[in-house]
Amino acid sequence: MVKFRRLSNSRWWNNRKYWTIILIFSILLIVRFSKTFIFRDVYYFITKPFWPGEYQQEILRKSANQELNIKLSQLERDNLRLRQLLDLQNFSEANKLNSSVISRNTGSWWKKIILNKGSQNGVSTGDAVIGPGGLIGIVENTSMLTSSVQLLTAPSSKVGVWNQRANLHGLLIGVGTKTPKLFFYSKDVDIKVGDYILSSPASTILPPNIPIGIIQSIDNESKPNTVATVQLTAQPEAIDWVQIFRMRF
């Protein structure tokens, strides 16, 4: 009896045609179930050289900045008008004076900086000093050409501040470290970590609504008042230029 042995190349998996069909079918399945991600990725690489470049991005950014500046100046004007109506303290651009830091003593008992503008330029004791980020201190004394600024971190610094969200007033007390303490006048206050601290709009010493810092932590155990630690938004140890707000009433 003769036995017929099937030739190996006669099996289906050795047939190239079947594999081609399987491959095409698999591709179709992937395309179907992938929701065209392959096409999108291919499209990504093909169109990449023709995308809007950095230049266009810059134009957009500039336009957005201009728009924000217009809105800001409009809001400032509104604010000034309303403050005039309410007979509150006013601060205009004319009262701002740019000054550079000529001496910095931020790491000893005396937390001070010295500015290159003095009484000759109209700077007087009590003027607010603002750096990039917000308020950094108050002019302590002036000479003819220079003025000494006591920083908010100085142990003897005390400034009245305001939390806009909770509409709460408090006292910011310097303790020597970079994070002054915020002392609220009552125990149960609605403040949260991350809240902004601004200069009080009712203040007669400081210009209104100047950013000062962000609440870093809250000590609920302290009695009888709530005390919070504030991270200042302006860093005097890294600032070279500041603005002096000359107090004119």
């Binding site: 007390i173 020597g176 303490k181």
Partner: protein, 172 residues
């Protein structure tokens, strides 16, 4: 008459102290803390001129330095005690002019001045019923100041000591 700079070295270096304090070089500070600069001048001066003159100079130095800071605390007592003590250790022959002695003496002097200044701050806060939040910062500040002063004293004090000796010999 020829002007001899060597005769006025102590006066010139004395006038430089406030400028260095204003300058506050960041590369000579530790975590923003500064060395106590007046000690670098007072120590070598006291080693040459004795306790009583140095106490008087400590008063003068403190008086000038207090005028920079418009607060109610004073550096005068610390500097007067240091001036007296620095002069005393020299007159009792307990001081060898080696770097370790300069470093240790300046460090202790800085500690005395720092503690006296800090006590005034604490006392004011205590009397005003204010919380003593400044306490940990004060301790940190004192120790940083002592460390930096001790570290730099062998260089600055020795250097000034040699200048002052030269000036002293010229005047004698």
């Amino acid at each position: 008459m020829k002007f001899d700079l060597n005769q006025y070295l102590s006066l010139i270096s004395f006038l430089i102290i406030p400028l260095v304090i204003f300058w506050n070089p960041s590369w000579l500070s530790l975590m923003g803390h500064q060395a106590y600069w007046p000690i670098f001048w007072l120590l070598p001066w006291a080693l040459i001129h004795g306790p009583f003159k140095s106490m008087l100079l400590g008063f003068l130095l403190g008086f000038i330095l207090d005028s920079f800071n418009a607060d109610m605390y004073t550096q005068i007592p610390g500097l007067m005690i240091c001036g007296f003590w620095f002069g005393k250790i020299e007159s009792s022959n307990k001081f060898n002019n080696n770097p370790i002695h300069f470093g240790l003496t300046a460090g202790i002097g800085s500690l005395i001045c720092g503690v006296i200044y800090f006590c005034q701050i604490v006392l004011k806060l205590f009397l005003g019923n204010s919380p003593l939040w400044v306490f940990s910062y004060g301790i940190q500040n004192i120790f940083s100041q002592v460390f930096l002063t001790s570290l730099l004293a062998p260089v600055f004090c020795k250097w000034l000591y040699l200048f002052f000796i030269k000036e002293y010999k010229l005047k004698m």
